[in-house]
Symmetry: C3
Subunit: 291 residues, 3 copies
């Protein structure tokens, strides 16, 4: 008897489910894709039941759920609601991947890009826009590698909260919250940093060139802002290990290839087991195994 077809259930918190995520699912080889928009923690319940009560436990690895949409917090709430419906005791589970707004695959790709140029175990880094969904994930991954991380935000109290959470969840994390609200904050935050990753809101300049020039140790800058003007002045959208007077630069499109490879590899991994939750740590593990 041939194996059952693979089914990816795409649950999107936006009204119209993402074509981006669906094209990637096709290219990752999913045989059937069920796309739903307007998914909430409430209406997801029967959608999950339809996943776990249709195929027997031994075939449930051929059904998987992808949660997406532009709002990462909404996606996280849907994932939490999904997991309440799974029944591990009866092996009635399906694997679930979260990549709302591409946050997980983008954060993983940015850190992999940095790894080509610095030693992540010891690099001193600064994450700008560090309280947003991508920034938090980047900081977490850097902290897990072991280097010292500064997490910058215009609101110091929010940066402190995120840093505290990472310290709690990542044993031994060396992470420090810093304010980047005033013009004197920038140079201070940059002091001694070899790596800067900017993950702020689209079109917001986080690091002007004249501030950047004050950072003598700086070796790598990665700007994840996809909408001009750049978050790191002077870095182009398509920069990919581009030399800027001795500093290596990446733009959002420049890390896009790696992001896409991670996204696809995670989708393939989803169908290998029936009980995976692929969030930032798991997706980064998959990124590490890529050739």
């Amino acid at each position: 008897m041939p194996e059952k077809h693979t089914i990816l259930v795409q649950l999107d918190t936006d009204a119209l489910p993402s074509t981006f995520d669906r094209v990637v699912a096709v290219d990752a080889g999913a045989q059937h894709i069920f796309s739903y928009g307007g998914v909430t923690p409430e209406n997801v319940v029967t959608l999950v039941h339809g996943c776990i009560f249709t195929r027997g436990a031994k075939d449930l690895h051929r059904t998987a759920i992808f949660v997406g949409g532009s709002d990462v917090a909404a996606g996280e709430a849907v994932v939490a609601a999904i997991r309440k419906q799974l029944i591990p005791a009866a092996k009635l589970t399906v694997s679930v991947m979260l990549d709302s707004n591409g946050a997980n695959s983008t954060a993983a790709a940015a850190v992999r890009a940095a790894a080509r140029h610095v030693n992540l175990d010891s690099v001193e880094s600064l994450v700008l826009g560090g309280t947003g969904p991508v920034g938090q994930r980047v900081a977490r991954l850097l902290a897990k590698h072991g280097g010292h991380v500064r997490l910058g935000s215009r609101q110091l109290d929010r940066a402190e909260a995120v840093a505290a959470k990472i310290r709690q969840e990542v044993p031994g994390a060396k992470i420090e919250a810093v304010s980047v609200a005033t013009s004197s904050d920038g140079p201070k935050a940059l002091q001694g940093r070899e790596l800067v990753i900017a993950a702020g809101a689209p079109g917001v300049l986080l690091l002007p060139k004249k501030v950047r020039d004050t950072a003598k140790q700086l070796r790598v800058v990665i700007d994840l802002n996809g909408v001009p003007p750049a978050g790191i002045e002077g870095v182009g959208l398509g920069d990919r290990a581009k030399d800027h007077d001795g500093i290596v630069g990446y733009g959002a499109i420049g890390v896009g290839d790696t992001k896409m490879k991670i996204h696809k590899a995670a989708l393939v991994a989803l169908f290998e087991k029936s009980d995976l939750l692929l969030d930032i740590d798991e997706i980064y593990e998959i990124a590490l195994r890529l050739p």
Copy 2:
């Protein structure tokens, strides 16, 4: 020229079309599944036109419609609206299956489970929750087989109406409406019954163990309630021909395998002709032909 791909148009009266029905359609081999939510008798009209006016009459058996959703009455209204748009005189028809809330496949599966243990031509049965969509269908199938059926409901007038309808539609049906409103009703309704099938609302206890113990002829109990507590006290969700002190018991999951086989076989049958209406009688016929 190769045959055209099969297309199942899934029309669901709920806002988000059922993943359950769609997974089953994949596993039954439908090559393309078009899923629509929020379908009503009004907006279904152009959806049906798109089915019948696209492929020539000789290929229309490769397009079929499945009507589902949690509300059986809403599904029935959609089926009625669909059939008004078909044009049999011009052979512009597609086959249609109704299985809102799984009512048809569940009722057929329950009766097939009973047939393993009793002679349906003569068995004396009681259907609890007999006025609901599943209960009505179970009672109708039992009456067609020829045994004497008691149809129980807390509202006697509603039970009478359902019994009258079955009497009218099934020649020679031996069916009697009974009240199960008071504590003394239970033992009376059960008297002489060999088979009890409970199809009440989720989580409502219809048959307490102490009442069941009064039924000396009882041989088979089938509880279609999928949400604890059980509709028939003591029967487990997963019971499948389980012995309970000489009485054979089935729970909702216990009849699930048979239900799934019937559901899939009906989907396969849909694509054999272009003019089928698969409602309870036709789906039961398909169940009878299963190995």
Copy 3:
């Protein structure tokens, strides 16, 4: 490495995306069809981004967009919004086809039907319902071929506006707006005409038989009205080159086969390049190449 699967993104301006367009897409061989309803110029933006930012430029011809729905003006607005998002300078484009309400494929099919019986380079024609989406397209195609076209409408000013637009866009077009508001207008508009194509609102009689009888040169009548009563009295829905006392007649279903062939051929053409816009002129070119 095998070619990427073809993906047709069906963007429909109605709430429920057309089953008609989706069945035709299956039969034209699209491997994956993503169907969206309720598409507007606003919400289409991210849908387009998901198309152009997922596959590399060399594979973008395997993703294409089809715009449909019952409202042609709404479809045109969506196409305009889509094209604003494409980035030809970076080769980040996908091909787009517009066929809202079947207007383009129907107009092309009607003109191809006429070509079997008259010389389009010189035929004198009358288009009834000439200001509607199908009528405008039919008149444009006839004018491009070179014959003299009368564009009839009950509102002369609207007919004048459409004629002026066609004169501007089609060099050398011989086109004249005529009123068909009063009972004496009909015979005047018909005078000398060999071909009449009616593309009015469903169920509206545009050409009564007794008026038609006054047209001594008339050789071909094509009625695109799909809902009885006929737009051209006496022409049947299924007429296909049917003789009516020396006049050849076609009804809406009679041109349906050709329409379907054009629709499918256009869908196939969509996947040959990544920068096509298939509107009336391009779809008619495809129709001309059909065997």
